[in-house]
Symmetry: C2
């Protein structure tokens, strides 16, 4: 079915509105269907806003990712940014541009995945835009969140002596991508479907973020999207500090260890440089480590904030060769 | 100069941050450089949010529009949506995707145009995203605004008997586009550079909107982006009313009258169907007409809200043949 068959752009927007529009109430005054959405923030709270664009062939490939997963990931990467602020996700705005030949069924599945991910984490669709492209698809999402005034996590609060922790495991998404690159979709799914799904449908750490916010112990935080080494450098720059990372402590799953063997890659490098983990990196004072780990058992200590410099320390206590900035830069590859 | 020459994606973001980032303060707590921006809304006010995506070859062409104008228009179309809500624009988020070969100089000019337009109307850049595309440029903007609680203009408040008015003139942008399509850039600029600039650098009605908001007399409003006929139908659908438009009253500039002759087109059809006017369409009670026109002299009465139906009435008082929905639909062309 083509967009023309459902009444063109307006028919498409109405279809999406009926199926996916968030209900008004709970701060949303006016949703999809006017020139802009209207919302209000309760007294004592601040709003946070993030925006991320996903481009076909750059951020997703149709031969590796189904439409539902593309939609899911578009929501997840933005939810991860809101989680990185210690905020609760609230309202999403989804703009999508696609070529004339795109089927309504594909678009329905993209919206399904987007909505399911949003709703799982408590956010609603409140607006967006629909456009055509000469070729290829582009998805742009803006996501709002809400946080107690003055309580947002930022990248700039880390101090020398703070302990660095990370949620979950590192390198899974990169391992999944590596399998896709080497074997294609069908064979990769046979090797390890869980890793492929971790790459296609990341789970943003929204719930963990709220638990961390409750502890009141987080000094600095960010989410890992471009690879640990590259991202920790951003946190260090924002906080004007250095860092030591103990590579022996990096949480690496058995699945990624196994995939790394098949890919003839060092699993530690996958964990240091692999992007799209969407885990949270947090810095806390040494005396807070027990409390935050009790609140969030999936946190692993991976290093320490230093006054300056960057040390990557191997299991034997010797500084590893610094593998470079690594990670993902759209224009440096 | 290429993006690689200024340190890749991070170098580019830092360059843009230094040149174009909005200052913190006045509600903006944290701007560009963290996982999300943080802002707060004063007590007694609500926030409005709009988002618009512009795709190369669909919304702009490099051979017709310079980079500064592309940036300007990306801000202007969003500012127009905020004006349509009777709100003050506050914070903008600019996501841009472009191919590896794009020059830094071109991107600088796009950001210059974007910033100049934003700043002229009192808004600031607070975040965004940068990406690569396989080919072509995509710009996605989210713009926030602020309005007194409960005072936003919407499309749904028009009632039968209300008078319909429009700011400025209609059809100028379509006439400019028509000249570009027929003659190309160089000849069109010789014919009427003002019309070409109205098409490339629309002036959103932000100031007029604030004056209208002060009157407290606006029952319904929207901005005209897809052509009067198509847009008024949306207002009527939202308000569950009909409309009569008196074509003899449509404000059409001499420039558009002249261009229409050259293009062998009916200027009335340009005013009814031409898109991208970015004027405001407002409905007010009959007893409010004098007050709003005194406050905003550039308002012209163009018709009346009816209980139902849609009449397009010619100068002789006879209903014109309805020229159809007209206007711009990305997937119906």
């Amino acid at each position: 079915m083509n967009i023309k068959d459902i009444g063109g752009e307006e028919g498409f927007i109405e279809r999406m509105r009926q199926t996916h529009a968030g209900a008004v109430g709970d701060g949303l005054i006016l949703g999809i269907g006017d020139d802009a959405a209207i919302f209000e923030t309760p007294a004592g709270r601040q709003s946070v806003v993030t925006t991320d664009m996903l481009v076909e062939q750059v951020h997703f490939r149709r031969d590796w990712s189904d439409p539902y997963s593309i939609g899911w990931k578009s929501a997840a990467v933005n939810l991860s940014d809101i989680a990185a602020m210690g905020a609760e996700p609230t309202l999403a705005f989804l703009s999508i541009a696609f070529s004339q030949g795109e089927s309504v069924e594909t678009l329905d599945r993209i919206y399904d995945g987007f909505s399911d991910c949003l709703n799982r984490y408590g956010a609603r669709l409140a607006g967006g835009d629909t456009n055509s492209t000469p070729d290829g698809m582009v998805i742009s999402v803006t996501l709002m969140g809400s946080v107690k005034s003055g309580q947002a996590f930022t990248r700039s609060g880390a101090r020398p002596g703070d302990v660095l922790l990370v949620t979950g495991a590192l390198g899974d998404s990169a391992a999944g991508l590596g399998l896709l690159q080497k074997y294609g979709l069908a064979r990769s799914e046979k090797v390890d479907k869980d890793l492929i799904n971790l790459h296609r449908r990341p789970q943003p750490r929204v719930m963990i973020s709220r638990v961390l916010a409750e502890t009141g112990q987080v000094r600095a935080a960010m989410d890992l999207s471009d690879g640990l080494l590259r991202d920790v450098s951003k946190l260090c720059a924002a906080s004007q500090v250095g860092v030591r990372i103990d590579t022996a402590q990096l949480p690496i799953s058995n699945a990624t260890q196994n995939a790394a063997k098949m890919l003839a890659q060092d699993p530690t490098l996958l964990a240091l440089q692999g992007g799209e983990d969407y885990e949270l990196l947090v810095a806390v004072a040494p005396e807070s480590v027990d409390a935050v780990r009790e609140a969030v058992p999936s946190l692993t200590v991976i290093g320490e904030i230093l006054k300056s410099g960057r040390r990557i320390v191997a299991a034997n206590g010797v500084d590893d060769l610094d593998p470079g900035a690594g990670g993902w830069d759209h224009f440096a590859q």
